[in-house]
């Protein structure tokens, strides 16, 4: 089973001898070198590099002047970091749930053999093509009380209408959520739609015969069948949440005050604006650590535990 490109002598071991497993399927291993390098050198290597320098007091340039856990102590006593984490938790949970719910609902509606399906799908998907820099700005305008939505509704005669999420520290993260979901839910909708198309039509017939209502069929029968779709969606949504940065910068720049700060922004601000690499690395190490704690058991179950054959 070794590679076709190998000379046959190399693959003809002693009659009874078992070949060295390292050299079996050599082509596959050879072809995986870019992946292995990326995984080990870039991701693991880069991460270790980051972790090592998080124990230094590097400022503008990485330097090996170790200071122990100083950066971490400072990190956890910084209010902005705590606010960032809290925001990420709120945004993350809401975004995860809402994106999945909206994505699935829209996909289910589009799956009802409707007209103009292509048009609707494109409408929901197009935000994905636009860069964050300006979508953040546009949403900032729309949510601006003085010339955005609130103003328009008041001009319609509803004088007491108040919708000003971006200028209230308690609600600003939800204002960002509105834009985040707008940008990302279309892709999830597409993935969900594709998942629905993969469901056997007989399921629908069976549900109909059993007299199960449409909504209930979707929730109780179809949804559990879409596990792989939901997992792909989760990876996409969750990786986007962790990286949430550009949108916040464009929409609120962390404001009002520090009310809409997020961890990625903390990391980047401290690395490049405050020129305190050590602090930035400490923060990104914490982010990475939490990702790994959440992800490794799941990834092991999902990708590592199964055997094919």
């Amino acid at each position: 089973m070794s590679a076709t490109t190998e000379p046959s002598a190399a693959r003809d071991p002693a009659p009874d001898g078992k070949p060295n497993p390292l050299f079996r399927n050599l082509s596959a291993k050879f072809a995986s070198i870019p992946m292995i390098i990326t995984a080990l050198v870039v991701f693991v290597g880069g991460t270790i590099w980051t972790i090592v320098y998080s124990f230094t007091n590097s400022k503008l340039l990485p330097r090996t002047n170790f200071v122990g856990f100083d950066q971490y102590e400072r990190l956890w006593s910084t209010r902005r970091w705590m606010v960032s984490i809290e925001n990420l938790a709120i945004y993350g949970i809401c975004s995860l749930i809402l994106t999945l719910v909206i994505g699935f609902t829209l996909a289910a509606l589009l799956d009802r053999k409707i007209r103009f399906e292509n048009t609707f799908r494109t409408i929901f998907l197009y935000p994905f093509a636009l860069s964050f820099i300006v979508t953040g700005l546009t949403w900032q305008w729309i949510l601006n009380p003085d010339f955005g939505l609130q103003n328009v509704v008041r001009n319609w005669g509803w004088e007491s209408f108040t919708f000003n999420p971006l200028n209230d520290p308690d609600t600003v993260i939800y204002g960002i959520l509105i834009a985040g979901i707008w940008q990302g839910s279309g892709l999830i909708m597409c993935i969900m739609l594709a998942g629905l198309r993969g469901i056997d039509e007989d399921i629908w017939k069976a549900a109909r015969v059993d007299g199960i209502g449409t909504v209930k069929t979707y929730l109780r029968i179809i949804l559990p069948m879409m596990r792989p779709v939901i997992i792909t969606s989760l990876v996409l949504i969750a990786s986007g949440i962790i990286k949430l940065y550009d949108l916040v910068v464009a929409q609120t720049n962390g404001g009002p005050g520090i009310a809409s700060e997020v961890p990625a922004k903390y990391v980047i601000n401290y690395m490049f604006r405050a020129q305190n690499l050590g602090q930035g690395f400490a923060a990104s190490t914490m982010m990475l650590l939490s990702v790994i704690i959440i992800l490794i058991p799941w990834a092991y179950l999902e990708f590592g535990g199964r055997k094919r054959g």
């Binding site: 089973m1 070794s2 076709t4 693959r11 003809d12 071991p13 009659p15 009874d16 078992k18 070949p19 079996r24 055997k307 054959g309």
Partner: protein
């Protein structure tokens, strides 16, 4: 022409033992059927022989050559799959020639072989079509053709007929049998369908849980199953099993309920048996004689009909014998209905006796 033999084959998927110490010798030109329920390891064994799975331990020989670690293409095999596995983007001709091109055969030779295979399988008109434009039966012919053109000594079939409907299945079954008669290749055929196994095989290997339970001719397998599993697996409707015990000095009397059945004429196996041990007597429904025919049988009984299943050529009747469920077969023309009394009889010489604990044939 080639022999295939498997020696002490072990295959584990992690902690799961899929094949355990398998040994198998297939002489040249034999049609061997690997028969078993799903999960029995029969397809796994075939994949090991083909070289598509790495074995954990043991050796595989084809034509006396150790091929345990050779590439599939170097083993001199052709293989036909359940889902046909035709390359969807290639025409039929492309499918047939793919392996030959990989083997860098001269063009003329490729053409010749395709022509021959196509004429054998009567697929000449399909050569330029894509697989998606073929019916299931046609696809499977092409898949067989793909093995055929390789001009190899060993054919491997992995449930090739399972995806076809009943009629096509019967047709192709006959065709495969003809093919074997004509080519006289060694063929290893995996199926869970006992009819295919019985009709095609020179020998059948019944597998369960990664071991071969019995390897013998269809006739022996049917008439003298080596254990209760094989007895139950082969034959439709399933064999009747009567629980009881042995008695008599020679332990040749089977007692069940209040019945004492003298096993006269029964060929005992070499297994030790003792008087008073518990045992199971297996009687095939088709070996039960009814009414007039029953009179001549050593064991007779009058039973009440409980359920009737007419099957056209014959009728299956459910009743109770020695307080245990008992089925037997009647002429298709027989008219019986539940509640009727029927006289039945069977010959213990043709029955099968198993040890209750080991389930082995006694």
């Amino acid at each position: 022409m080639a022999t295939v033999s498997v020696k002490d084959l072990v295959l584990n998927f992690g902690a799961v033992k899929v094949l355990r110490d398998l040994n198998l010798n297939i002489p040249t030109g034999e049609f061997l059927v690997l028969l078993g329920a799903s999960g029995s390891g029969k397809s796994t064994l075939l994949n090991c022989i083909a070289g598509l799975l790495d074995v954990t331990d043991g050796q595989i020989f084809i034509d006396d050559k150790n091929v345990t670690w050779s590439e599939p293409k170097d083993r001199g095999i052709g293989m036909v799959f359940q889902s046909y596995a035709l390359y969807p983007q290639m025409t039929v001709k492309g499918n047939l020639s793919f392996g030959l091109k990989n083997a860098k055969l001269p063009k003329a030779e490729i053409e010749k072989r395709i022509e021959r295979a196509a004429s054998v399988l009567q697929i000449e008109p399909l050569l330029d079509r894509k697989p998606s434009a073929l019916s299931g039966g046609q696809r499977q012919r092409v898949a067989i053709g793909r093995a055929l053109v390789r001009d190899v000594d060993v054919f491997l079939f992995d449930e090739p007929l399972s995806n076809l409907d009943a009629k096509l299945r019967a047709d192709l079954r006959v065709e495969i049998k003809r093919l074997h008669q004509r080519l006289k290749n060694t063929m290893i055929y995996v199926t869970h369908d006992q009819v295919e196994a019985m009709t095609l095989a020179d020998r059948i290997a019944v597998m369960s849980q990664g071991i071969i339970l019995q390897l013998d001719t269809p006739n022996v397998i049917y008439n003298r199953p080596a254990n209760k599993y094989v007895a139950g697996f082969i034959g439709s409707p399933e064999m009747n099993f009567l629980d009881g015990s042995l008695s008599g000095a020679k332990a040749d009397i089977f007692e069940t309920d209040d019945k004492k059945i003298k096993l006269s004429g029964y060929t005992f196996s070499e297994q030790n048996r003792s008087s008073a041990q518990s045992a199971i007597l297996g009687v095939r429904p088709e070996q039960v004689a009814v009414n007039d025919h029953a009179e001549a049988m050593p064991v007779t009984e009058s039973v009440e009909v409980e359920l009737v299943e007419p099957m056209g050529a014959d009728t299956l009747v459910w009743s109770t014998f020695a307080k245990q469920p008992f089925r037997f077969r009647m002429e298709g023309t027989a008219i019986v209905s539940p509640g009727d009394k029927v006289k039945i009889g069977f010959d213990p010489a043709k029955a099968s006796l198993f040890d209750t604990d080991t389930e082995l044939r006694l």
